[in-house]
């Protein structure tokens, strides 16, 4: 009996392959499919709830697996995104630092060492940061530190591989500065707790300072109080001037160029450098 059915099957197979599209078996197939189409359609409709139930169960199981996979993917993408954003931000900051060197008043031959901020003081005073370069990289105490935009502080301690930078927003900070190009001099001191507002103090009232003018380091070299900073490092821009007729000095508010709250990359100027001609000519009282 097996032989008969097997032979029959092989005969059908052979005939099916041998015939054209309009042959007996092809026609039979089409006829059967047409005849059973309503039955299949009805059965399919009737069994849809069953299929949906199993589909739901299967989808739930699949969704669980997909959920796990997607969670991993999201984590990976977040990590990639964070890396990319950090890279973009670093790139932007480095570009801004590079642009800083191109300013006509920025000191030349400062031999900058680029460093990454690895720690920040946990207080709200914005007093200091730690960088990942130290004496091994040529970093020494009292060297000025700049970031994208301008001056951020000076090195206060240095070890072999790290250094502590006191920010210009620290309460003990004082930077001799002048308004560029007018040449009005003063000392930039912080308004502690507000890193977006510095004060240019000791500005005589008879030398009027206007808003939006540039403030740079003055870099005194000849007086007893020799400035630690070379002449020409931008600090910020005058944002407001408090002028009192009775006061001898006027109080000038300066908005720093550097974003003290978000320091990632900085440059330590390991050489004092040479003031540019533009900076030297500014004001003439440097």
């Amino acid at each position: 009996m097996l032989g008969i059915f097997v032979a029959l099957s092989i005969a059908i197979l052979t005939a099916y392959f041998g015939e054209s599209g309009g042959g007996v078996f092809h026609t039979l197939q089409r006829g059967a499919q047409e005849a059973f189409a309503p039955v299949e359609s009805g059965a399919s409709r009737a069994l849809k709830p069953v299929r949906d139930f199993f589909g739901w169960a299967g989808d739930t199981i699949d969704a669980k697996d997909q959920n796990e996979a997607l969670k991993k993917e999201v984590q990976q993408l977040r990590s990639d995104l964070a890396e990319a954003q950090t890279a973009v931000r670093d790139s932007g900051q480095l570009k801004q630092i590079a642009e800083l060197h191109e300013q006509d008043y920025f000191p030349q031959a400062t031999r900058p060492v680029t460093a990454r901020v690895i720690a920040k003081s946990p207080t709200v005073w914005h007093s200091s940061v730690k960088i990942d370069k130290g004496t091994g990289d040529g970093v020494r105490v009292d060297q000025p530190v700049v970031a994208a935009g301008g001056l951020v502080g000076k090195v206060t301690t240095a070890t072999g591989g790290t250094a502590e930078v006191r920010l210009i927003t620290d309460g003990e900070s004082g930077v001799s500065a002048q308004v560029f190009p007018a040449g009005v001099s003063g000392v930039v001191r912080p308004e502690v707790g507000d890193p977006d507002d510095l004060l240019l103090e000791n500005v005589e009232s008879d030398r009027r300072v206007t808003e939006n003018t540039l403030v740079i380091t003055s870099g005194f070299t000849s007086s007893r109080l020799e400035s630690l900073f070379p002449r020409g490092i931008p600090i910020g821009r005058v944002s407001k001037v408090d002028f009192d007729e009775l006061e001898t000095y006027q109080r000038v508010h300066v908005k720093p160029f550097a974003d003290i709250r978000r320091l990632d990359l900085v440059e330590v100027l390991t050489r004092r450098g040479v003031a540019t001609e533009a900076a030297s000519l500014a004001g003439g009282d440097g």
Binding site: L2, S9, A15, Q29, Q33, S44, L47, V50, R51, I61
Partner: protein
């Protein structure tokens, strides 16, 4: 199996129902990449209770129906299912198994034979493209799902075919399990 007209009708309807259910529902319920295959289980069940002749005839008929309704290569499914039906039927005839859970391994083995042999026939006849190794996974899933379904399907088929069965394996098992009645006390030990 007693080949009465009623038995023919019942088996014919059973196979038709199995094919339609397979095409309308089971093939569309994907579980872990595979799906249950009711047709091979129905053929295996008919063969298991009816023997090799009934099994091979049911296999041929089911395969023929399947090929007709799916538009697949005519003769391929019937060739493989004939062999599967015959194999299961012969196993039942030669071994005369009576264990209650036997439908599960029988269903799984029949499914394994069906998916493997059908894949081999398809490869020889139709498929010219590369075959993904995922096919193996789907085959395993189908075998496992059919193993789960085998028991209820075999039970249903047995119930359907019972009037036509010359020898029901379940009844045989029951009879074997019944304790032998001893004769009168005085004659015990004298039975020859």
């Amino acid at each position: 199996m007693i080949l009465s007209p009623g038995a023919f009708v019942r088996v014919g309807l059973l196979l038709l129902l199995a094919v339609i259910l397979q095409l309308s529902a089971f093939s569309q319920i994907g579980i872990a990449g595979g799906h249950a295959d009711l047709v091979v289980l129905a053929v295996a069940a008919v063969a298991y209770y009816g023997g090799s002749v009934s099994g091979s005839a049911a296999g041929f008929a089911a395969g023929f129906l399947l090929d007709l309704l799916t538009g697949a290569t005519m003769g391929a499914s019937s060739l493989v299912l004939t062999a599967v039906g015959y194999g299961v039927g012969r196993y039942r005839e030669v071994r005369d198994p009576s264990h209650g859970l036997l439908p599960i391994p029988v269903g799984a083995a029949a499914t394994a034979a069906w998916v493997t042999a059908f894949a081999a026939v398809s490869l020889m006849l139709d498929i010219g493209a590369r075959v993904s190794p995922l096919v193996l996974r789907d085959m395993v899933v189908t075998i496992l799902l059919n193993a789960l379904l085998a028991f209820p399907v075999f039970a249903g088929v047995r119930r359907l075919l019972r009037p036509s069965l010359a020898r029901d394996p379940v009844e045989v098992r029951r009879r074997r399990q019944q304790p032998r009645e001893a004769g009168p006390l005085g004659l015990r030990g004298l039975e020859i």
